[in-house]
Structure formats: structure tokens, C-alpha cells
Amino acid sequence: MSVAPKNNSTSDDGKALTSSALAKDLISTAVITLLILIPIVAMKTVIGQGVISIVYRFGMAFALTGIVVGVRLFLHLFVWHKAPSAASKSTAASALKTVSVSETIAKYIAPGLLIFALCFPVFTFFHPIWDKRVMDLAVYILIYIMLGWGLNVVVGLAGLLDLGYVAFYAVGAYAYALLSTVYFPQWFGTGILPWAFYITLPVAGLLAATWGVVLGFPVLRLRGDYLAIVTLAFGEMIRLVLVNWFSFTNGPQGISVPKITFFGLPFKDAPGSFSDFFGIQFNRIHFYIFLYYVILTLALITYFVTKRLRRLPIGRAWEALREDEIACRSLGINTTTTKLTAFAIGAMFGGFAGSFFAARQGFVSPESFVYIESALILAIVVLGGLGSQIGIVFSAIAIMGSFELFREMDFMKAVLPSGTEPIQFRMLAVGLAMVLMMRFRPRGFVTKREPTVFLKEKKSVSGDLVAEGHG
């Protein structure tokens, strides 16, 4: 990462900012803006009944600071930065500049998204319209981002087309449901229940990983279409077992499970609860905000573990396996273990997500794990750009967010046939969007593949050169 700014500094343009200088500039901008805004915006005096009281509006101060920093970043990247390079004599130099600017933007996307994600719940305090429904939607999208990142290990990195990923999601969810309602009370008594999620989470991940290996063994020799069909069947098998094994899973009626607690403190309006412990007013939004941070943590773990694995021999072996299996073997890579670890690790993240899903929902039933879920997750991975983690974020937001948008579109009723709801057309719209995507951006939103190692200079690989429709 530290090598990239070289592009900027080596150019003849003296005013070009290196990324560290840019970061310094933005931070100092933020500090100065905040210092100014705190007295004049964050504290407002209100005169009422002969007393002057202060109303705190830190949210607005932070929001304004954010806007100022954002505008300054924009100016740095596009306005102030570009002018000298356009004035420079050689066109080659300015061409170089455009490359470095777009690379700079690419560099700020991930940290920008992270900061946005971390601050996101803060907005709910200051925007009463953005209530728990928005938080719930954010949680929902994050689950799919995490599932996308998990599936990305199998499909994007190792190149193994998996159409039954939802099976591992189901294993995780049912692991939590069964352990917390049946087995933990039996083994440890009911006192353990508030902690059930935290204890079950690793167990669910392990169980899902085990099932990943179980699926992996019979399909070791399969690739492409054949593999897809077997994994599809596997996903259906798990669901059908959940439906029909009534004595164990309670069949289609599902299982009610305890919801997630704040490390043992439940979210309810009662003594011993989260709000009681911290002495604050009970509000359902706390539950949603906590859910949000839990899934954000899980998703970030998925992100960073995958990112790290890509730099380790095993991650490189996955990518090499995607490229050429025979070459892999002739280089001494054990393709069996390489495939199995990809299945296991992908499945493990699916298991984590499933466990969280159950703890959020408070209820699991086989209906949540139908084939279309697998297809959606796969669509998210493919639309995002196979192997691209940031692309998955955008495609998950686009697909899941658009589903939610359809609920809001009452005005559409005027055009639609009577008796239908806009929401019923959501799959149609997503299908259409996918067809258009595949027509105009066949490699997904983010088509660059970052090499995991660099020698002396960094050069990302242009998407134009990435093979299309590679199974």
C-alpha cells in the first residue's frame, strides 16, 4: 500500500498530493471544522421561562464536518489536483495523472465505506424518520454482504461454482436454534440461555465447515456445470431434511429461539435488561443497533480473514486452482486439501451468518433456506465482480436495497394491474437488472483484481483483461 503514492510524487507536477499528505490535510480540516462548529452549532441556547438552557446538537456538528471533509476530498481529487496536470505540457503526463487519480479514489473507497458503516447507527439518533426499519434493513443487507464474502471464497477465489451455499447458512441457523432451545438447557440448565448465541457461534461455524468438507469430498473431481448441479442438490437435500425430520427439527413449523442479548443482558423493558443495567430509557432501537454492530463485526471478520488468506500460500493456491488445476498439481499443490479448505472456510462464514440470522429473527424454519437464497447470494457475488470484496458490498446494497424499495413504491399501483402490489414484481425487476448488467458490464461492478504481492511497483490488473463467463 505504501508504494502506490510514488506515482503521484514522481510526476513533474509539484502540487500533487501524496495520500499521506492528503490524509493529514483531511484530518486537520476535520479538527478545525469541529472546533469551529462545537461552540456555534453543537450548543444552542434556548431561552425558556427566564432560564437559558443549552441544547446539544453534536449530531449536526458531526454531519456538517463530514460534509466539509467530503467536499474538500472531492476538491482535492478532481478540482485542485487536476488543474495543474491539465496545464502540464505533455499529454502523457496527464494520462498518467488520470490513472493515479482513479487509483486514489479506489484506495479511499474501502476505508470510506468502513467509516460510514461504523458511524451509520449514529444517524438514527438525529433523524427520527430513520428509525428501526432502516437499521433492520442495514442488518439485513449486512447479512447478505457477509454471505457474499463467504461465498466469494468458494466461487470468486477458488473458482468452484456453488449453488447450494444456503445449506451452510441453514446449518448455522439450526445449530443455534437446536443448541439454544434443546441441548443447552439439557446440558447446562437454563441459566446459560442469555449467552447461548456467543457460545453457539463458533460451534455453528465449525458444524457448517464440517458440512462443507462433507460436501467437498464427493465433488472433488467435479468442476463447472457438474459441480453446480451437485451443490444445488446438496442445498435442497439439507432443506428437505429440515422439513421432514420432524422429531429433530420440528419440520416446517420451525423453532422459536431466544433472541440475541447484550452479552447476557436481554433487550426488554424489564429489570435486569440492557436498558435497566445502563440506566437508560428502554427503546427497541437499542436492539437493532446492537444487532447492526454484531453483524458488522462478523462481516468485517469475514472480510479481513479472506483478505489475509489471499496473501497466504493457501489463498494463492485457491486462486491458482481457479486458473488451472493441472498446473496446480504439477507445482506440487495438493488440490484435494486446497478445495476442501475453500469449501470449509466458505461454509464456516455461512454458518456464522446463519447463526446470527436465527438470533436476530428469533425464529427459524426451512422456508428461509430455499434455493432462491443461494441464487441471490451467487447473484450478489457475480454482480459485484467475481473475487472482488468491495464489489460485493455494492451489489448487496443494490439488490437487497432495491427489494426494500419496492415496498415503498405505492405510486406504482397506478400503473400496475389492480390487486397487485409492487413488491410482487421485485424478482422481475432484479432479473431485468441482471440481464442489463450482463449486457453492459459483464464482469460485475468491480473488475479489477489486485495482485496480492508487488515487486517494487504496484500495478492493478485491468478488468478489460479478465476473462468473461469463466465457470
Binding site: 488451472d324 498439481r329 506440487g332 495482485p451
Partner: protein, 240 residues
């Protein structure tokens, strides 16, 4: 020179019911370049792949330095010191040149990565120029250099080269063969070379085999075969 590194005896390989190798005997001595020449479909590449264990020989034995490797899985054979630059190069097209070389060092667990990298770059300076480029965007000759370089990163005792001249311009073929010769003479690397380009291969080889229809039809030193009228008639005249 006389110590045998790799020996095959009565090696038979089948693709389903079709017999591709019909009892091959061959040996490769330490420090020499051995070559197998022959027409399309003679079974040269099958022999190469059989040595590496995909597919495995149905009968016969292949012994590397006293150890029977006939039924071993490929990745274990590679760990014993046989590295291959496979037919059609099979580099990883979406990974960079550098990453490809890194994959080659898997067997060595990257222990000598830096010094080996210097050696490979010294042998093929073009690879150093293109180190951060996607391997799929290299020219055919550069890809072949990369495939050989990648195999060398494993620090092999025996280097298998399957048709390194395939589809390359004559000048590049010369460079590649010069590099192979250099490796053999300066590093003492043992090489087993499978080629259709009989002229280049025989000039280089200490030991040579001619394969016809899954059998060894002729063997001898490279110089002997180069002079032999049958070889000249079948593989050399008219071609080059």
C-alpha cells in the same frame, strides 16, 4: 554422469481402453539433458504426464533416485524434486508474473524465494521487466519463459519440459533452448525434454529417444540420432 536419476521400465498407460504407452523403457542420468522426440500422438506428453502421476501407469515402474514413484499422487512426486513446465505452458493467466513465480515456489515453501527469483530473472530478463503484469497478457515466448521459470522456482532435481518450442517464433525458440543449455551446463540441472522440434532438441541432448505409436523406436546420443538416416528422413528433412 553415469548415475541414473530417473528410470522407467515397461511403462504402460491407458486412457480408458486406449493404450497410449506400450511398454516404455527409458533412463535419465544425473546432470544430462535427455530428450524424447516424435510425431503428434506418439505418446510423448503422455509419458511426461505419467512420470508426474496423472494419469498413473497401469503397469511398469518409474523410479526416481531409487524411490518408486509410479503410484504416488502428483503433488508428492513434485515434492520429491520433479518440476514440470507442462504442455501449452499452463501459466495462471489472471495472476501476475510475480505471483506465478511465487506459486512455483510452493514446494520450496518460499524458503529460497529471493535468491531463486534473482536467478530466474537473470536467466529471463524479460520476466523481470514484466514482473507485475498479468501473465495472460504476455507473449507466447514470455509465457514459455514464465512456465520454465515457475518450474525452476521449485528447485527441482529433474526438470521436465513439454514442448517448450510450441507455437513460438524461431528466434524465441533459440533463446529458450539457449537458456535450457545454460541451466544444464552452469547449474548441472538434469532435464528431460519432450519436443517435436527434433533438430534443436537433438543438438542439445546427451541422450535421446524417438517415440512412435507409444513405443520407443530408437535411442542413442543426440549426435547419433541427428546423423541417423531414419531420423533425418522422418523428422528433420523438409522441416528445417
Amino acid at each position: 554422469m553415469s548415475e541414473i536419476l530417473l528410470r522407467g521400465k515397461g511403462v504402460e498407460t491407458f486412457y480408458g481402453k486406449i493404450q497410449a504407452l506400450k511398454g516404455i523403457d527409458f533412463e535419465v542420468h544425473k546432470g544430462e539433458i535427455a530428450t524424447v522426440i516424435g510425431a503428434n500422438g506418439a505418446g510423448k506428453s503422455t509419458l511426461m504426464m505419467t512420470i508426474c502421476g496423472t494419469p498413473r501407469a497401469r503397469s511398469g515402474t518409474i523410479v526416481l533416485d531409487g524411490q518408486d514413484i509410479t503410484q504416488m499422487p502428483t503433488h508428492e512426486i513434485v515434492h520429491l524434486g520433479i518440476a514440470q513446465s507442462p504442455e501449452g505452458r499452463r501459466i495462471f493467466p489472471r495472476m501476475s508474473v510475480f505471483e506465478n513465480l511465487q506459486m512455483g515456489a510452493t514446494v520450496d515453501k518460499l524458503r529460497h524465494f529471493d535468491e531463486d527469483l534473482v536467478k530466474v530473472f537473470a536467466l529471463f530478463p524479460r520476466l523481470e521487466e514484466r514482473r507485475n503484469q498479468r501473465a495472460g497478457t504476455l507473449s507466447g515466448g514470455e509465457q514459455q519463459m514464465l512456465a520454465i521459470g515457475r518450474a525452476l522456482m521449485a528447485r527441482p532435481r529433474l526438470l521436465l519440459l513439454d514442448e517448450p518450442s510450441l507455437g513460438l517464433a524461431p528466434i524465441i525458440v533459440k533463446q529458450i533452448f539457449a537458456a535450457i543449455k545454460k541451466l544444464n551446463q552452469e547449474e548441472g540441472l538434469t532435464v528431460l525434454l519432450v519436443e517435436q522440434n527434433a533438430f534443436h532438441a537433438l543438438r542439445l541432448a546427451h541422450r535421446a529417444y524417438v517415440m512412435v505409436n507409444g513405443k520407443i523406436a530408437m535411442s542413442g546420443t543426440g549426435a547419433e540420432l541427428l546423423k541417423s538416416p531414419e531420423v533425418r528422413a522422418a523428422y528433420l528433412e523438409g522441416g528445417h
